[in-house]
């Protein structure tokens, strides 16, 4: 969209990095420990300098582990039905969990939300900063309307109603990563409302949802807002500020409190992440720091009178607490479990849940109180007087709707139901989920190539989808087991070429695997697949009819006792043994079992099977 991410006014004019000199000097004199700033820090979004969560175990492995666990549990419950249930289960039958989630995601835009400075991820600190990004006196916001496009795509993909008019508000709090002293967000009139997202059983690990069917979670609203500066810690006492990230556009997605299982919450976050990626709305996955979640958690007794609280128009809920700044899917799930158990334990022992903000760190057993209601920050929301309302035309929405790429639910249907692909739902959901959809793109590339290659061969054509699926997930997936996915490692044209040879029976399956390994281990090999096959003499050479007859005769003579068994005792299955022997003695793939049996039967004077 924009060609030149030029150095901006502030950087150009001032030519100094924006690091407070006196702070640097003072850093040694006084400790600015993280503890002292935690309460404020925790409510801000996207603090990538926090320890990153490692949550990128291959999805297939997760599925496997999950299935294994399930089997073990089933075994345990069937063998001793009464004793070995987890201790908390009666509690979970008594208490119902309710969760709402707020997800913050960095939008994939070339400019910042309110200045023409370029967005950046890994540029030198303080090189992409406009006057307004630093709150230089007299500077004003300039809304970059192009940033709306990925935001609108996200809202449409989440089934939201895009508002004709939306406005920007200032959310006030003091922190040094917030140059203006406020964040510009959409509090009073967000740009999208009333969406929903449905989680199908296949979205869940093991293919089973805790609700035993699809779950639909309402999305209250989606709003646009600014990111803050990045704090770079220089232990022990120095905090450096990088304003490149200030005003990077974010969207905040707020769900209704309609989630009742920790797994559902985790799957929801994962799916929203996949949806945002699929429509090219966001820069990075959650693990890259591009996505953060806050969750609010409450419990209520299932059978007694409903709770007294009401959130987002949903009433009858228990007192909720909020857990801020969760950086991974795993963190979301574990924090909810920890907080649920804490609340139930508290209530069971006669206590009362306080409305408060809590924190959670990966690996810990319980959430930690950050501040109570009395310590809540009053953000003093005020409409920003300098920013005109944003009006989105119906034509823009229609155009974006038309050009929206298919979402994972649609892909699921296509991959499993269309004869072009014919995948199992397990393979389909794995393809969709892996590598933020890149694996799916790769697979589609290959299917597309193979289908055009074999368009006049219906017999092969119907096997293409499934074969490609197996090779992309199993064979190539196995090679990538301990490495990060890279579609260029074995370019899709190369795997397509291998599979073309295989489907044409020009090479054997083993040769195909060998070729794949060669390409994987030497991605810079300039040779084409054909050249490698030729160089290594891998092409399959089938036996001639005479060679079949010769090989069969030789075997029949060697094992005359088995010939007798066949002819006299009618032990017909022993023909198969001879077939196997023929295949074993010839070069790999050179003997077709069908042809071998035919030749054997002719020599033994038996009718065709």
């Amino acid at each position: 969209m924009f060609a030149q991410p030029s150095r901006t006014a502030a950087a150009g004019v001032l030519r100094i990095p924006y690091i407070c000199r006196s702070c640097l000097r003072r850093a040694s004199a006084q400790s600015l420990t993280r503890e002292t700033v935690l309460p404020v820090l925790q409510h801000r979004t996207l603090q990538t300098s926090l320890p990153e969560a490692k949550d990128n175990a291959p999805f297939r492995k997760l599925l496997k582990d999950e299935a294994k666990k399930k089997r073990q549990q089933e075994k345990a419950t069937s063998s001793s039905k009464k004793s070995s249930k987890p201790k908390s289960d009666p509690w979970l039958e008594k208490w119902e969990l309710t969760v709402g989630i707020e997800i913050h995601a960095e939008l994939n835009t070339s400019r910042k939300l309110f200045s023409s400075a370029a967005t950046s991820v890994n540029e030198a600190p303080n090189t992409h900063v406009a006057l307004f990004d630093l709150a230089v006196p007299g500077s004003q916001p300039q809304f970059q309307k192009e940033t709306l496009i990925p935001a609108l795509r996200a809202a449409l993909a989440l089934g939201c109603e895009v508002q004709w008019k939306s406005t920007f508000d200032r959310k006030h709090y003091f922190y040094q990563d917030q140059p203006n002293g406020y964040q510009i967000t959409q509090y009073y009139e967000p740009f999208a409302k009333n969406g929903s997202i449905t989680l199908y059983p296949h979205d869940f690990p093991g293919g089973v949802s805790p609700e035993n069917g699809p779950v639909t979670i309402g999305i209250k609203q989606v709003q646009m807002e600014q990111d803050t500066a990045k704090t770079i810690q220089q232990p022990p006492h120095t905090h450096l500020l990088d304003f490149n990230r200030v005003s990077h556009p974010l969207i905040e997605i707020i769900t209704l409190p309609q989630i009742h299982h920790p797994t559902t919450a985790a799957v929801l976050v994962k799916k929203i992440q996949a949806v945002l990626k699929a429509v090219d709305s966001v820069t990075a996955g959650m693990e890259m720091g591009g996505l953060r979640a806050d969750v609010n958690v409450s419990v209520r007794q299932r059978d007694s009178a409903s709770g007294k609280h009401s959130y987002s128009g949903i009433s009858g809920l228990g007192q909720r607490t909020e857990i801020k700044n969760l950086a991974s899917v795993k963190a979301v799930e574990e924090a909810i479990i920890a907080e649920r158990d804490r609340q139930i334990e508290l209530l069971e022992s006669g206590g009362v849940v306080e409305g408060e903000t809590r924190g959670w760190t990966l690996g810990s057993k319980t959430t930690k109180r950050l501040r109570g209601k009395e310590g809540e920050i009053d953000y003093r929301y005020m409409p920003d007087p300098d920013i005109a309302p944003v009006v989105v035309g119906e034509d823009v929405i229609q155009h974006l709707n038309r050009t929206l790429p298919p979402l994972s639910d649609e892909w699921m249907k296509t991959l499993t139901e269309s004869p072009e692909y014919g995948l199992t739902s397990k393979d389909a959901s794995t393809l969709i989920t892996l590598d933020d959809g890149e694996r799916l793109d790769y697979y589609l590339d290959i299917v597309h190539t193979l289908r055009s290659t074999f368009k006049s061969d219906p017999e092969i054509l119907q096997r293409v989808g499934k074969a490609a699926g197996n090779w992309v997930l199993m064979d190539l997936g196995g090679l990538f087991k301990n490495e990060t996915w890279d579609p260029e490692r074995v370019a899709p044209e190369k795997l397509s070429s291998i599979l073309t040879h295989l489907l044409r029976k020009q090479i054997t399956g083993r040769t195909a695997k060998l070729l794949l390994a060669i390409l994987f281990n030497d991605p810079h090999n300039p040779q084409t697949v054909e050249e490698i096959i030729k160089e290594k003499d891998m092409l399959l050479k089938p036996l001639s009819h005479d060679e079949y007859v010769e090989l069969a005769k030789k075997l029949l003579e060697e094992k005359s006792d088995m010939v007798k068994d066949i002819l006299e005792k009618k032990q017909m299955h022993k023909i198969k043994w001879f077939v196997g022997q023929m295949m074993g003695r010839a070069a790999e793939g050179a003997v077709e079992p069908g042809e071998a049996e035919r030749v054997l039967r002719v020599l033994l004077d038996l009718p065709e099977s």
Partner: protein, 474 residues
């Protein structure tokens, strides 16, 4: 007088009038004179004219302090658009004028650099008005040809009235605010102080251009719509707001108002029309909720982290942010008062009762004006602004700029802040509605008396024309 002679005279006055404290920083006098010399060969109405800039308008070369200790040595990395426009017109920036800190005040006494003063004949020091008091005094004492100020609730018009100069606040959105330090940005307007209406008009014409850097700058399409509105009446119809005849109106002011109206009726055949602006009595309260609310937000950026003054010893304790002390030490009393007022009226519990109510009043004030003007408000859809048949159909409204002549500085020292706010009672309504308003000095009966001409939004030319008629009274 030649450009150079005029410049020399002004520069000489910089020395003789330094006790008035009109400037926070003057440009180098030899630089001013050499620019004036060069300008002799340049054409254009502003070529070589000395113009003073209020110190909340950013200049690349001179510091920009907003008369605040927190910015006492701040130098802006860029020129405000209005400054750039003046430089391009070959005007000479003569210096930065003293003001109430961040524009908050009515007498230009709340300055880190000391109060701006006027000297009466009897030697008494009187208020220059605020917050653009430095700009007004600089013009009144011939230290410059004209000056830029800013007007949020009367900050150009009040000092103009007190100093006997012309003070013009154009319609909101006509002059660029890019580079103007925010006080209350929905009200902040760059204004012009000059010796006469014609000079103000020249400066206005130079600056009245769309600026894409200011998101509140009126678009070219809106500007062309303003020009194509209904012509004014012949004879001129003048509205006299009956609610403005308050009991606390100083007798000199009331009689000047009356003689002004008589003059227009007799000399120009104008029709005088009593009008009612019922929401006016709430306007001042609404203003003192909205302006501090925006100020509390706009001033949150001053933390001494990226620029500005920092408290000398370590700041930031386990209980506070990194700049509690910095802000506590470096903002003045009035600024802190308004930040607190604003923080309160925006707080969750007070929002509905204060900020939201004040916004409603603001809308009512605008409706009051729309109901009396002949021209419809060009910012509204035609269907909403259809003038009712019983509208008084006035072209302009004329009322005093301030309820009293300038008080002495001595009397101000123990004044209650609320009394100071009362000074803005006649200027605030036009600010809330974004209307063009100009204060013309009418000093027949007393010094420091100004009459205010208000027009419909975008009808700046009628305001300037009628103001020029009033100059004939002198």
């Amino acid at each position: 007088m030649s450009v150079l002679r005029e410049a020399q005279r002004c520069v000489a006055n910089h020395v003789s009038c330094s006790s008035l404290n009109a400037f926070v920083r003057l440009a180098d006098s030899s630089a001013i004179l050499s620019q004036a010399q060069n300008a002799a060969s340049t054409t254009g109405p502003l070529a070589g004219k000395l113009i003073a800039i209020k110190d909340n308008i950013c200049t690349f070369d001179l510091p920009t302090t907003a008369s605040s200790r927190i910015l006492k040595s701040y130098k802006s990395p860029y020129d405000a658009t209005v400054v750039k426009q003046l430089r391009e017109a070959a005007a000479i920036i003569v210096g930065k004028t003293n003001m109430d800190e961040f524009g908050m005040g009515s007498h230009s006494t709340h300055s880190h650099f000391g109060a701006v003063k006027q000297k009466r004949v009897n030697g008494e020091e009187s208020s220059a008005g605020g917050s653009s008091g430095g700009s007004a005094v600089a013009v009144a004492s011939d230290q410059c040809w004209a000056a830029l100020g800013t007007d949020t609730g009367g900050s150009v018009r009040l000092p103009a009235a007190y100093t006997g100069t012309v003070g013009f606040k154009p319609s909101y959105g006509l002059l660029s605010r890019w580079g103007v330090i925010d006080y209350a940005n929905s009200l902040d307007t760059v204004g012009i102080l000059a010796r006469n209406v014609q000079d103000a008009q020249i400066v206005f014409d130079t600056l009245n251009k769309y600026d894409p850097q200011d998101p509140t700058s009126l678009l070219p399409s809106t500007r062309s719509r303003l020009r194509s509105s209904k012509p004014r009446s012949r004879p001129l119809r003048i509205g006299i707001p009956v609610e403005y005849n308050i009991t606390s109106l100083h007798p000199h002011i009331r009689s000047t108002w009356l003689s002004t109206l008589h003059y227009l009726q007799e000399t120009h055949g104008a029709i005088l029309q009593p009008i009612s602006l019922p929401s006016t009595r709430h306007a001042l309260s609404a203003y003192y909720i909205l302006a501090p609310a925006e100020a509390s937000s706009n001033l949150a950026k001053y933390d001494g982290v990226r620029y500005g003054t920092r408290a000398p010893s370590p700041d930031g304790t386990p209980e506070s942010v990194l700049f509690a002390k910095t802000r506590g030490q470096n903002f003045g009393k009035e600024v802190k008062r308004r930040i607190l007022l604003g923080a309160f009226s925006l707080s969750a519990k007070a929002m509905d009762n204060y900020f939201i109510q004040a916004q409603k009043i603001r809308r009512l004030v605008q409706k009051d004006f729309d109901a009396v003007f002949k021209r419809s408000n060009p910012l509204l859809e035609e269907s909403f602004s259809a003038v009712s048949s019983d509208s008084p159909n006035v072209d302009v409204i004329i009322c005093p700029t301030a309820p009293t002549p300038p008080p002495t500085l001595e009397s101000l020292s123990n004044q209650d802040p609320l009394d100071a706010y009362m000074n803005d009672v006649f200027t605030v309504p036009a600010s809330l509605a974004g209307l063009p308003a100009l204060s013309v000095p009418i000093e027949r009966e007393a010094k420091g008396v100004g009459m205010q001409v208000l027009g419909q939004f975008g009808d700046d030319s009628t305001v300037l024309d009628v103001s020029e008629m009033l100059e004939g009274m002198k």
